[in-house]
Amino acid sequence: MDVLDNYKKAWENQPEEVSKFSSIEIYKMAHSKSSSIVKWIFIIGILEFVVLNSLYFFIDMDEAIKEYEKLGLENFIFYSQIAAYVILFYFLWMFYQNYKKISTIDSTKTLMKKIIKTRKTVRNYVLFNLGYMALVMLVFTIATINVNFDEYNAKQILLITVATLIATLLILGILWLFYQLLYGILLRKLKRNYKELAKLDNLN
């Protein structure tokens, strides 16, 4: 007889929970607000879309447009903004679709996969935004150098380039770290559990 069989017998004979909940308590609980990971991912995801897009409100657009026109970048900004909004709505749609598909009736593995996919949609959006920001910075720097080429000497150009590069990397780095922290806390356990189930498939 297996060692565990004895323990199993003890398990089967275990008494019922002493502090059981009444129907009324269960009713109240069923109608209370969920605080699950999925809900947090949804809330944080929506916040990220909102925050990233409301950054524009803090920029004096008239000033910015004048600056762009001076550098001859108005077309680049105009078209890239349209593209950015199309992409934003695509991501928002995907995010909502993924979120809707999450269901606790799925198997554990499918459920975890869907949660991770939902999060990845927002991650990709953040990556896209960081990339877009880097691109604008780059184009802006090149244009600035181009327009003022005659006024600057080689040393100044190098200085501007290096300074912009460092500033860009710093901003991107901080945003990335913040993002990792946000989801790291939320999803560490889930990812570990998912790996635990997924690594089995690789064995066979």
Partner: protein
Amino acid sequence: MQKDLEIKFLSDFEKNQNIAHKICRLYTTSRDAHNDLFQEITIQLWKNYPKFRGDSKFSTWMYRVALNTAISLYRKSTKRVKTQDISDVAFKIKSNDYDDTEERQLKALYEAIRKLNDIDKALIFLYLEDKPYKEISETLGITSVNARVKMNRAKEKLKNILNP
């Protein structure tokens, strides 16, 4: 319509709530956390209840939703440090003789399972609840073969904790 569904849910769940309590006992270490997880399980069960067709037993369906909640949805509250005083009452075995072996075994078993990772906990729990491999593999979303492999390893780990 909604009212009927609610009444049926409450009666189904109230009868089977012990399953959820056992899961809470395995996945949490304080009374507060136990109740937190129980509440989240209740929310998830009720949210999905309209989709429960009744072609399987309520309890079978409940195992899946409750385990999924414990493994994937529940966030361990960090503000609580107090560990659960494993109430001796909770482990009193209904037994005619005065032998407390089973009671001690049950206590040791809970303590040992709590040391396992979330997935192994689920496997051992389903084994102890006498679930067939088909159901275990469907609940976790892995093949039957993998479920067996994983179960054997989890049992080995558990034995090592119980009898080092």
